[in-house]
Symmetry: C2
């Protein structure tokens, strides 16, 4: 079993990574828990909820399954309220524990419900997508969407444990595996050249979900994110480097309509564009741009961006959270394994767009 | 000006107590604030919002007034959402600041909105009732009600400053002054015999809102609560003594229907009953029971409890949050200035009820 201990203000929690963790979920339940709420969606629930319940039942507490509708469109207060209704109707108290069994949407909503139910109860993350495993396991971000903005209502709330069963990735669509791997290689590109090289050597094994390779990739990703977050819990500055590829990526998602590309696919393509921009303004070697393009392709993500029109591209990137006073800040890499944030001249960005868009 | 500095995890904030603080609210706005949301209700807003806005305008930031419907019945998610709608429609960001101008309901909702808007922004409390000034200024509790329970959804979120203008108490109905004073004398009874004696000497001045007396009473109350909360931020044990009179009091509020008696009135009467019970089972001197009854009367609160029927009384007290496995825990005082929590035998409770209820 691979274990990452994450230090957070006021404590630490373990991320346990291994095949079959789903059958050992009782190990994550605190000794003084009074009841367990298992939050999932119909898709993941049909596949894994019964196994999770069997394992949780061994903790000797009542287990209540709470099934929420599937998808980002339901990540709102109305759906969240279904959790509160179920907890209160069933007499859950301050010492009860929630378990989030699902991808990022289930994790974000369950975590936020735990953050505000009776002013805060404990929760366990059981992420079932690769993206959630490498991204949501660390950082404590929870929340729901508001009609006027994504993730506008939320809290920082840390889990008591994260249980990552690498076997469940077997039922994940191949596109979602590739999208998750984009966030994995990102850690190499921003802070770990050795891990980047390892990803280049093991791209095929990662796409094939070879157990040792995927467990190692998840572990390094979680460790890397934990190192960044420990230095910047509330997003002052350093944490921004985690957004490598995201300024271009968000423009792709928004420009094509959310859902056309998976978030990770857009980030993968955005990393190619960020590499090109880094070559323009931050001295990133041309040979390394080719390596980035090759690895993004090797993990199965697109490397050619959609042609949204140069002006529309610029407008979309300017509304990104990282824009300040109309100027766009990008995460750039002077070399593989090193990142910084910087504004870039518009003509350089336009040259990058000209080089990276095409028919998709 | 009286100032209480409250230490909280990760920092400290000031409670400033003086006549006219409403005209100096700009002093509470952090230097890097981008915009100010002034949250109030129609009653308080009609009296004080323009003065508050004039003062806040001197901070040089845009001030947006957000008026919520008045009363506990509107302390819910729908009303809270009016704050989010207004903030997002007006482009408020992570560095904006909320100001809560009103009583406990406005303070709880504004504090919770600040706790979860963009995962947490800063807020300033400007409590306009005596109860909110002595009770909500310290402790960081924020939240809204759920149809299945009061304050079930919430967070611990500390203000950056509390501004208490003692002049605004002049427009408070006399009953609400008396109700607030019940929470004031409570601090003397649980932890400060000298302050108790001072309250006995100054009861008339307090009811008359004599400026120096009321400022001193607010200061000592806030300091006392801060001392308790500092030792027990998350309500493990010690903090329970703040609930002196509340087990009896909640039964009164619930038995008569919420709103028939003010919360503070019920707590005042409940303190007389807690004194009687302390005499039964904790060695509280009979002479001091008479002092408690006299001071509760002197501040204008009822000292005779409603006759709800002994069995109904017991049932109502058993559903109190402090009941465990059907046994009722009470906050008791072995002497004035000292408190503990303990289960009490049912026959002693019944004797107290027989002695303290009557026609009201």
């Amino acid at each position: 079993m691979n274990v990452v201990d994450v230090d957070v203000p006021g404590g630490r929690y373990p991320i346990r990574i291994a095949p079959g963790r789903l059958d050992a979920l009782d190990e994550a339940i605190p000794a003084d828990a009074t009841a367990i709420g298992l939050v999932t969606n119909p898709t993941v629930g049909a596949l894994y909820a019964e196994r999770a319940e069997r394992a949780l039942a061994r903790a000797g507490r009542r287990v209540l399954r709470i099934e929420l509708p599937d998808g980002e469109a339901h990540k709102d207060w109305q759906t969240l309220n279904q959790i509160f209704d179920a907890l209160l109707a069933n007499g859950f108290d301050r010492r009860s524990v929630l378990v989030a069994l699902g991808g990022g949407v289930i994790g974000d909503m369950t975590g936020f419900a735990a953050a505000v139910f009776m002013r805060g109860i404990r929760f366990v993350q059981v992420p079932t997508t690769l993206l959630a495993q490498v991204d949501s396991s660390v950082g404590g971000k929870t929340g729901v969407n508001h009609p006027l903005g994504k993730n506008m209502i939320g809290a920082f709330h840390q889990p008591v444990a994260v249980e990552i069963d690498t076997d469940v990735l077997g039922t994940l669509p191949a596109r979602e595996v590739s999208a998750g791997l984009a966030e994995v290689i990102k850690y190499g590109m921003i802070m770990d050249p050795a891990f980047w090289a390892w990803c280049e050597e093991n791209a095929a094994a990662l796409r094939a979900l070879e157990p040792a390779a995927i467990a190692h990739a998840i572990q390094v990703s979680c460790e890397s994110k934990a190192r960044v977050v420990a230095q910047d819990e509330r997003e002052g500055g350093l944490r921004a480097i985690l957004n490598l590829g995201h300024t271009f990526g968000h423009a792709i998602e928004s420009g094509l309509g959310y859902g056309a590309w998976l978030h990770g696919e857009a980030v993968g393509c955005g990393m190619v564009q960020a590499a090109e921009l880094s070559a323009e303004v931050a001295g990133f070697p041309a040979a390394d741009v080719a390596r980035v393009r090759a690895l993004v392709a090797a993990i199965g993500c697109p490397t050619v961006a959609p042609d949204l029109g140069a002006q529309h591209w610029m407008d979309l990137m300017r509304v990104d959270k990282k824009a300040e006073g109309g100027e766009i800040r990008f995460v750039l890499t002077p070399r593989i394994g090193e990142a910084l944030t910087r504004k870039a001249p518009e003509d350089a960005v336009l040259r990058v767009l000209a080089r990276t868009v095409g028919p998709v």
